[in-house]
């Protein structure tokens, strides 16, 4: 996943280099670089306040990135937003569905924002809902769904326009153990089936497999960028949970005067 320099940027679903962002005097991201190749599942692991959501907001152009570069399939988000955003699907940490509309209406609305005509959008919506196992609920209002089902609809919506890069910001927030496992398995399945590059942001270590590519973010800085075994070796432990806590604690100690 990582060596950000060698292959061309187009090879990466998402390529972030030298990204720094401040909120007033607070440094939210400090020279962050990471890469998500096509067809790869990369975990962005970090405690609360690490800067994960800020990174997502910058990658989705909700904030303008002041220094550094974010490329989606080689397209700079700031200079070529249309080319970049048409390849991007996002699931935000908090709900962003219109609860007054039905599942299908929400998806058709999203499709129209991507220039997909209505007839085609209905077809895409049916297919996306089938992918997440909610085809028979298409006519139901979003407010009638459970938290897990609503998350699935958000994922269906993110997939509707067939993106190559999928960003999920704590997509399992508020879900029970079974729903979390099911959502995670579904996203991992998408990586294998559709060669989508996925950046999965979470603070829950139990969502990470030992073989996953991991970017460990803490207080806006990348503490580790590599695969699970290398993280375990670096922290000299056999448990990802211990490794995570140890590296974060070390960084806190290092930051102390």
């Amino acid at each position: 996943m990582t060596p950000p320099a060698s292959p061309p940027p187009e090879a990466y679903a998402l390529h972030v280099s030298g990204l720094t962002h401040r909120f007033g005097q607070t440094l939210a991201l400090d020279n962050v670089s990471l890469a998500v190749p096509r067809g790869a599942f990369v975990v962005l692991l970090g405690p609360n306040g690490a800067g994960k959501s800020t990174l997502f907001a910058l990658a989705t152009r909700l904030y303008d990135n002041v220094s550094g570069e974010i490329r989606i399939l080689g397209h700079d988000v700031r200079r070529q937003p249309m080319a970049a955003l048409k390849n991007l699907g996002v699931v935000f940490q908090s709900r962003s569905l219109d609860s007054d509309l039905s599942l299908q209406q929400n998806l058709i609305y999203h499709a129209s924002l991507h220039g997909i005509p209505r007839r085609e959008a209905k077809h895409h919506a049916a297919r996306a809902l089938a992918t997440v196992g909610l085809a028979e609920r298409a006519g139901d209002k979003v407010r009638a769904l459970s938290g897990g089902q609503a998350r699935r609809v958000e994922i269906a919506r993110a997939l509707l326009h067939e993106p190559t890069c999928l960003l999920l910001d704590e997509a399992t927030t508020g879900l029970d153990v079974a729903s979390r496992a099911s959502v995670l398995a579904m996203v991992r399945g998408l990586v294998a089936e559709r060669a989508v590059g996925v950046l999965w942001a979470t603070h829950l270590v139990d969502e990470v497999d030992e073989e996953d590519a991991i970017v460990l973010l803490h207080k806006g800085r990348v503490l580790f960028n590599g695969h699970g075994p290398a993280l375990l070796a670096l922290a000299e432990t056999q448990s990802l949970r211990t490794a995570f806590l140890r590296l974060v604690d070390n960084a806190r100690g290092g930051a102390a005067p």
Partner: protein
Amino acid sequence: MSVEVSPDRFGLAGYATCFAGIAWREVLRFLHQRERFLSALVRPLVWLFIFAAGFRQVLGVSIIPPYQTYVLYEVFVTPGLVGMIQLFNAMQTSLSMVYDRETGVMRTLLLSPFPAAFF
């Protein structure tokens, strides 16, 4: 499954589709909120059928140029009521932007590949 999105989605037809989609959602939300629909109707109807009917003999416009005949009060106020309906509905419709921002739906719009200036 194709990976690349066809480029014609982002031509003129794409802009039209995008605009139609946003307008369609606003209409759906207007129709779904029956209270809002009824309150939009009640205010002008009260003016027209209760106040105007009550004041028709007192507040009409007498026969002075440019009018050739006596103008009833309800005739006199109707253009104003049309303006009032438009004004209040425009305000309520623009409030949906606040609602979108509160609920997070606005982010869907902001993530659209079409230029932000288009919205």
